[in-house]
Symmetry: C2
Subunit: 135 residues, 2 copies
């Protein structure tokens, strides 16, 4: 089958705080985030990103998933444009697409200080404050 599956694009090249997202853009962007919304895929991406290239056969072991499941998840990540696969002999080698991750980062950019946001609230914004209130 042709590997020319539709690769999801990140439509929001700027922070989403600038303006309300269009519906079409929201659908496209949500598809990319949805690809990250699974623990198995997140671990796959993590494993691939931690190395230069990763063979599919190296994913089944650590993730304790069957081969079709791994293939399914890698296909989803590839459709989201987060990884790109290359076939070397019998093995499939995956690598991350840094540009796509960078694009997601841009979408998650919070409002800059120049914007009219109460500075007192953003002053102490640094690491993650353990503000969990379950108790």
């Amino acid at each position: 089958m042709a590997p020319a599956k539709h690769v999801a694009e990140v439509p929001c090249c700027g922070p989403l705080v600038e303006h309300a997202l269009d519906e079409a853009d929201a659908v496209a962007l949500a598809a990319v985030f949805a690809a990250l919304g699974d623990p198995v895929r997140l671990r796959i991406l993590s494993i691939i990103a931690s190395q230069d290239e990763t063979c599919s056969c190296n994913l089944e072991g650590p993730l304790a998933k069957s081969q079709p499941t791994i293939s399914h998840h890698t296909a989803k990540l590839a459709a989201a444009g987060l990884i790109s696969g290359e076939r070397r002999g019998r093995w499939m080698w995956w690598r991350v697409v840094p540009e796509q991750l960078a694009a997601l980062q841009a979408c998650l950019a919070v409002v800059d200080p120049s914007r009219t946001v109460d500075p007192s609230g953003l002053d102490g914004v640094g690491p993650l404050e353990p503000a969990q209130g379950d108790g």
Copy 2:
């Protein structure tokens, strides 16, 4: 009873390329990304982020969704720690949690340029056109 809900935290304070994600961390992180994996929630977050505070009543109109649906989505975003709600009189006011977005950004941090990323293979993949002035 609403505040008793467990607010998801981003366990991965560093880039996920550093090492393979643990399963528990992957589950927690995936929950946050899954909250962003829906177009409606993405638009809700966008609308809230584009303003200082947003009333729930201002969301049903632009999104063309029923009130329970909006409430459901805002609750999910709040459970993911992406927004935080405050009740002022009869209205519910939502605002983003910049720390959580910043934490997600950190997780999406790609490997720094010093690492060996072959740009030749990424030349033709670039969905991101740098020509995005947006202004």
